[in-house]
Each structure stands twice: as structure tokens, then as C-alpha cells.
Amino acid sequence: MNVIPIAYWRNRKVYTRMIGTKCKDCGAEFFPPVRVCKKCGSRNLEEKEMPKNGSLLAYTKLSEPAQEFKEYAPIYLGLIRLDNGVNVISMIADADEEKLKAGARVQATVRKWTEDGKGGLVYYGYKFRVLQ
């Protein structure tokens, strides 16, 4: 298992609530959060929850994913443009290849990412699914 429990815990609001950052000087938004604005260089940033809706730009299918996800193969990874313009790479929940088309509307939910065997922690985080 490559997930470090304390590192996950520190970032849990990023993983489950999609807390990113917004530059208080130029208004640019980032996910995952950054300490320095990539647009204007300001360090004057605040936490900002990302919108949960967006559009699918592209996707890929992993038949041989990393060890933590091996038992869930195949895994679908999507490149998603959120409604605030921020791009996110995310696993796709309930993936149906017929509906994974560029431009498809998607919505974030919370799913199990992986678990550390039978006795370890369960790791939850955002995944996107295609809206029906």
C-alpha cells in the first residue's frame, strides 16, 4: 500500500470536498490548491470549494492500474473542465463507455478510492460520473 494515512488525512478536504484556492488579487482559481498564484504570482490566496459540475474533455481506460487500484480494473480516468474553467483529472464512477463522450456533463460525488487491506483505512475521495 502506497497511501500514507497522515498525508491523506492532511489533504482530506481536498480529496473529498474539492477545496482548492482562489487568488484574492486576480481571481484565478486552482485545484488542487496552490500556495502561489500561477497567474499573477500573488501569495494572497484563500480556500475555495470547487464547483461540482463540469464537462468531460477526454478519458482513458486503464486495464493495468497502479497496485492500489488493481482489484478495481479497469479504471477510467477523465480530464474534466469544471464550470469555473479549472481542469481536473479524476476517476470516473459508474463508467459506461457509450456515454463517455467529449462534452458530456459530469458531476462530482464521493466514492471509495482504495482501502488498505481488510484492517487498514478506507480512503474516500471525489470521482465524477456522467449525468443521465
Binding site: 464512477a93 459508474d94 471509495k112 474516500y124
Partner: protein, 340 residues
């Protein structure tokens, strides 16, 4: 007990995947089917935490995200034996100044959460609370429970009546006894049950007793209600218990779900309530009676007010029409029934 609580929002979530009971019977019995047509099954990445999140998100959105002070999650399929689901959920939903509690009473843990939060709201100790019932029910392979043990979650946001509530919870009673109809010991993966014993001494006795107590305490009778919701362990029991108590098909039919999704355990009656609330009109009275093995039943009197029109809200029955069937091998893989 008299209650002065209101349903401000509700949500119901059932996974998109179904398995036909014909498919289960094909594998274990060479043919036939279970008492229900299909059951809903959680995907490999779903559990009661993720399904609770789904149903709670719907309920909180409908209630316009009030300041929740108690999150009670009823379930018998918790991801952790020790580590509360309520606290994980509070973090994900963004409510940390809250009570976070897990409850268990077989299939009635969800209505226990409703009853407890209704009591706290009525007493004035909290303003708003979130009651959830959720399960990924366990059925031992080849056991008759495997036909019906399904997955789902229901959530209710409760507060005091404010004139814009979805419904008022006016009265509730509970009846419990030590009845060994169904149980699961620590570390066991699947529950044990006593087959036909689960009917008369357990389901029917406790459900009819709680509903008669409700009638006695409120002076109400079956004809006072537009809808009657009973726990649905299979398609037959809720109809039979309803008829014994004097309810009609017209009162019982709108809540029936078991044929399509199976028994969602702690979520069972809350999901059925969501289905009924979707179609109910102002002034309609609802009688709801849960049942939990072990055994007990909670009964409620609920009076419908109204629900603000929300352009984004999709009625539960409409969402149920969108499903995908999987075969037994996929179901067995996802639900941890294959040894590796």
C-alpha cells in the same frame, strides 16, 4: 410521544446496478427466482459512507443547507467496526460542530435516527439534524436472504416547523422485545436467521403492535391516512401487514419498492418515504412503520405540507428507471464474495 419536528429536506439513493433474482437462482438452484424481481447492489467503490453522502447531499440541498447540529447514521454495514461513519460524513459535508453518531438496530436503525433527532428538535436542544439510514446488506451466498439483501441510503433533514417544511412529524412510538429472528455476531461476514420464524413472531407481531400503539395514542385509524409505508423485507410482507391493520391497496401501493430494489435494510422505509413524499399533496397524512430484527418497530404520523419547486430535482421513481444489470460473477466480485 408527541413530536413537533419537521422534514425540511429528504433524499434517497440507490446504486445504478441491479441483479435479477433469476440470475442468483440460476447459479445456486439451477433455475427459478426469488420473491422479488431484482435487487440493487453497490458498486465496488460504494459503501454506506458514499451512499449516505449521496442521499444527504439531496436532502441538504432541498433544505437549503441549514446549520446541522446532529448527524445520526443508522446501518448494519459500517465500513469500520470502530470509527464513526457520522464523523467521516460530517467532515465531507462540512459540518464539524455537530454530534456524529452511528446507530444499529438491523433494518430500523434509520428510523431510530429520525425519531431521536425529531425528539432533540422538539425538545429544543438542537435546531437542525440529519438522519440517515444506509446499508449494503449482506446475504450469504445461496441463502434465501441473498435474493433480497440490497443496497441504498435515505436521508432526512429535520428541524422545527417553519411554514415552509416538506412535512411535519407529529407523533412516534416504538415497540421492542428480545426476539432472535436475525443476528450477526462480531467478525462474522453474514447474518444468521431463523427462516420462517422471521414472519409471525418478529415482523408481524412487532409491526402490528407499534401501529396499534400509534392508533391508541393518537386516536387515529387507517382511513385517516392517504399513504401507509411499511418495512419491505420482501414484496409480500408489507401488503399483508397493511391489510391486517385495515389499510387498502391504494394506501399501500405507492410505497412499494422491494420488487425493484430488494430490501435496503436501514434505508428501507426512509427511501419509501422519499418516494411517497415525491407524490404527496398538502394535507396528506402518512403512516410509516419500520421493522428491525432483534426485534422492534418504530411508527410515525407524518403530515405533508409542501415542497418548493426545484428545477434540478429528479423524482426518485424517475431515477429508479435508469439502471444497469450485472451478472452473478460481477456481483460476487464487487461485494467481496470471492476469496483471493
Amino acid at each position: 410521544m408527541n413530536l413537533n419536528a419537521a422534514i425540511l429536506g429528504y433524499g434517497a439513493y440507490v446504486p445504478i446496478y441491479r441483479i435479477r433474482t433469476e440470475e442468483i437462482a440460476r447459479v445456486w438452484h439451477g433455475g427459478g427466482a426469488g420473491p422479488n424481481r431484482m435487487k440493487a447492489i453497490a458498486s465496488y467503490d460504494e459503501d454506506i459512507l458514499t451512499m449516505s453522502y449521496e442521499s444527504a447531499s439531496q436532502a441538504l440541498s432541498m433544505a437549503n443547507y441549514p446549520k446541522i447540529q446532529a448527524i445520526l447514521v443508522g446501518s448494519e454495514s459500517k465500513p469500520y467496526a470502530v470509527k464513526p461513519t457520522g464523523s467521516i460524513l460530517s467532515d465531507i459535508l462540512g459540518y464539524n460542530s455537530t454530534l456524529g453518531v452511528d446507530l444499529e438496530f438491523a433494518c430500523k436503525a434509520g428510523t431510530e435516527a429520525m425519531q431521536l433527532i425529531s425528539g432533540m428538535v422538539s425538545a429544543g436542544t438542537i435546531d437542525y439534524g440529519l438522519a440517515i439510514g444506509a446499508d449494503t446488506a449482506q446475504g450469504r451466498p445461496a441463502d434465501e436472504l441473498e435474493f433480497t439483501a440490497g443496497s441504498g441510503a435515505g436521508a432526512i433533514v429535520l428541524g422545527r416547523p417553519n411554514g415552509r417544511e416538506v412535512a411535519k412529524i407529529k407523533h412516534s412510538v416504538s415497540y421492542v422485545t428480545d426476539t432472535p429472528d436475525f443476528w450477526r455476531r462480531p467478525h462474522d461476514q453474514y447474518p444468521m436467521h431463523l427462516g420462517r420464524f422471521t414472519g409471525e413472531p418478529a415482523y408481524f407481531t412487532h409491526t402490528t403492535t407499534s401501529v396499534k400503539m400509534l392508533f391508541s395514542e393518537t386516536g387515529m385509524k387507517p382511513s385517516d391516512f392517504k399513504y401507509a409505508i411499511f418495512h419491505q423485507p420482501n414484496p409480500r410482507f408489507p401488503v399483508e401487514v397493511g391489510k391486517r391493520l385495515g389499510f387498502t391497496d391504494e394506501q399501500l401501493r405507492p410505497a412499494l419498492l422491494n420488487d425493484d430494489i430488494g430490501n435496503t435494510y436501514s434505508a428501507n422505509t426512509i427511501i419509501a418515504l422519499a418516494k411517497v413524499l415525491d407524490m404527496a399533496d398538502t394535507g396528506d397524512m402518512i403512516m410509516l412503520a419500520s421493522f428491525g430484527s432483534g426485534a422492534g418497530s418504530d411508527a410515525f404520523v407524518i403530515e405533508v405540507n409542501s415542497r418548493d419547486d426545484d428545477d434540478g430535482y429528479v423524482p426518485f421513481s424517475e431515477r429508479l428507471r435508469n439502471y444497469r444489470e450485472v451478472d452473478y460473477a460481477t456481483y460476487a466480485r464487487w461485494r467481496g464474495k470471492i476469496l483471493k
